[in-house]
Symmetry: C2
Subunit: 430 residues, 2 copies
């Protein structure tokens, strides 16, 4: 499998998307190498990973072709950077939602020509992809829908709007009744914006169907994450991270079906005692900020050090799929309210207070059978960074081994992180 794998190129297709093709030509071979090293070097992977490997292989070609075709059919293709943007509504309009969070060091220099250097690498990477015309997914979207979940994103969207039409959804900072009222209105405005784009009203049936499609996707991801919690785990943390990253650019129905097929295989693997790690392998849960594709740095370090990652409490992780929406007998207004309530359960550190997240992290730690938590903070992400103080206190109280890591996408701190992770693994094995 490893020898044949290749992230594919299609300069003709890219030319239609106003890419910087000369520079971008280097990306697929680099991603091919990284993927082979980090993923295909693993032993005894589930066979169904072939589908997800294939999604990586086609990320700049086959999937882009699908987006181009969707646009040709008049379907809206919308880029997002946050799990608070309600994709059920995009789905209801037969549109496509693509997560555009940047996980690559390669576009950061482009961003730093304009943005300050000391902001979050995810924001810089995404912004750099656009200004450098270095991401076919970004080039393929009609417009992007940002939000106000952190200072760096909120202000960067003002600049991004010079390069691509950028709408912004206001996410309140508390979760009281008056915040909910504001939030429901934002959801309504979002719905109107999508309706204007497709020049067609979203009906109750449309929205119900959109919600149910994404409910099914969430349920599949929940099933997968529950299976993965088995001790020993039937699938590696790296593979799980990849699957959760692909959730942000695959077609929901297809993805859901493939996740269930993988789940079936994992059930069989558990029955067959065929695992991704041996009994006694240290089990680590990762919490904190999202890891956008191809940010595999921390998982690679943890699993390279002989442990296994058994849960991601993250937006690219459980925060994305832990809740579903009940659509039973609901009118449009009721559905929009229930939808908003689902979003209000996502416990991003942008909220104050956000103690539900502390409880959720502890719960996921217990559920996943982890033996320690590594809290991951993207560099300069003030909200998760400061919230880690409370999380550390809560873990100390519960006797949970805890380590906080702040890192960016550069390879410079890998050696130091390896040392810290190894020391942490020694600690939890004592």
């Amino acid at each position: 499998m490893s020898d044949n794998f290749q992230v594919k190129s299609n300069p003709d297709l890219w030319a239609t998307l106003d890419m910087d093709i000369d520079r971008f030509m280097n990306v697929p071979p680099m991603l091919t190498d990284a993927f082979k090293n980090i993923f295909l070097s693993q032993q005894n992977r589930p066979k169904m990973m072939a589908y997800f490997d294939d999604m990586v292989s086609n990320i700049f070609t086959g999937r882009i072709q699908e987006l181009v075709e969707a646009k040709a059919e008049g379907r809206p293709v919308i880029g997002t950077f946050c799990v608070y943007v309600p994709e059920e509504i995009v789905q209801a309009a037969n549109g496509v939602c693509i997560g555009l969070c940047g996980g690559s060091q390669g576009s950061i220099a482009d961003a730093e020509k304009i943005l300050p250097r000391n902001i979050c690498p995810m924001v810089k990477s995404a912004f750099g992809f656009k200004v450098g015309r270095l991401c076919p997914l970004f080039q393929a979207v009609d417009f992007v829908y940002g939000e106000t979940t952190c200072d760096a994103k909120k202000k960067t969207w003002e600049l991004l709007d010079h390069y691509v039409p950028t709408h912004v959804m206001e996410i309140p900072q508390m979760k009281r009744e008056r915040d909910k009222r504001l939030w429901v209105e934002e959801v309504r405005v979002f719905k109107q914006a999508i309706e204007e784009r497709v020049d067609k009203e979203i009906t109750e049936e449309d929205l119900k169907a959109g919600i149910e499609t994404l409910n099914r996707k969430s349920e599949a991801m929940q099933r997968l994450n529950n299976l993965r919690h088995h001790n020993p785990s039937p699938i590696s943390g790296r593979d799980m991270l990849l699957i959760q990253q692909i959730a942000f650019y695959d077609i929901p129905e297809r993805y859901t079906a493939k996740v269930h097929e993988l789940c079936d295989e994992l059930e069989q693997r558990i029955a067959d005692q065929s695992f991704a790690a041996t009994q006694g392998t240290p089990r680590v849960m990762v919490s904190g900020t999202p890891m956008a594709l191809p940010n595999w740095k921390l998982h690679n370090i943890i699993e390279g050090a002989g442990a296994i990652v058994v849960n991601e409490e993250s937006c690219i992780g459980t925060r994305y799929y832990k809740d579903t929406i009940d659509t039973g007998g609901a009118s449009m207004d009721q559905m929009l309210e229930k939808l908003t309530e689902r979003y209000m359960k996502i416990d991003c550190s942008c909220f104050t207070p956000n103690d539900d997240r502390i409880d959720q992290v502890i719960k996921e730690y217990r559920d996943s059978g982890a033996e320690g938590i590594i809290d991951y903070c993207l560099q300069f992400c003030h909200t998760y960074n400061i919230e880690a103080v409370k999380l550390r206190e809560a873990c100390a109280k519960e006797g949970i081994p805890f380590m906080a890591i702040e890192s960016d996408y550069s390879p410079e701190d890998v050696g130091q992180l390896q040392t810290r992770v190894e020391a942490f693994l020694e600690q939890i094995q004592e």
Copy 2:
């Protein structure tokens, strides 16, 4: 004057405030030295500066005694960190509002024992004052009222609440009708919190009087800033910064009277051609993040390099006093709405979009007769840092010399800043 000046000490008073007296004993002499070097070394200062120098002399003693006496009378003493907290309402309840933003390097190590290092020095300094028990103003307040204007503050208030009761006011992130509705409700809740503290309802007359007291203070500060714009300026930028800093801890009525006395003197100085700088001295406007007492670093560098600062577009500056509230014939509800509208005119970079601020900066640049803008950003302040990109573009379009500086409270970058400021002054004199 210089020889007699001293920031006073009163360990007996501090002992009643649970201060870390041993450590704090070093602070008044250090502040005395800094103040002598930066302020009292200036030539031909207005005589009325004696009052403001005296306010510095008494910052840890006489003014604290006044706060202790106010509390003994049952008056609430409330600490704040932001000009969005409506002090008119505190004034209406006969309370005292004290600005607690930290401007000192001395408390940062205390904060960094708990908080991440790479957040705003103002937040760290304030938090460190409290955890180190190193600020008599902080020790004297009943409770603090934080807000959600930036990621670092919003999340730090959750931790500060362990040390002092900390309420948080939600400030929305946009300025549309639905944001205003949320904001007015926040103002109402703030009013209720103050009423509960004093166990007395705030009447229409109370609120009207409170608003008018602070209107008069704003008008005095406007008058002062207009006089200061005279070319040549009758008062230095350092002295103006100091007066604007003292606005956050002096008694409003007394302060207003003294500012007017100073204005009278400045009018006479202008008539007498007695200035703080000679004709032809380069005139610099500073925009950006606030400079909390005793953060005099940038003004000292600019004026030490032979220029004069002629305007501060800042929260400790024009943003604080540029607008007043019309109370004519208004009911309680109308007044709360008008009050909220006044606050909505404050153009902090926490809002998106915030283009009114760009226009306001250009307007103040013209009004002040400045020849260049130095935009000051507290280190790791993402919103002002990113907004500087737009400000730079607008200045380029208008042909306004512009330089952006990001700095903290450490002395380490002073040499580098001096070099950059000198180069900027050469540029604007060409």
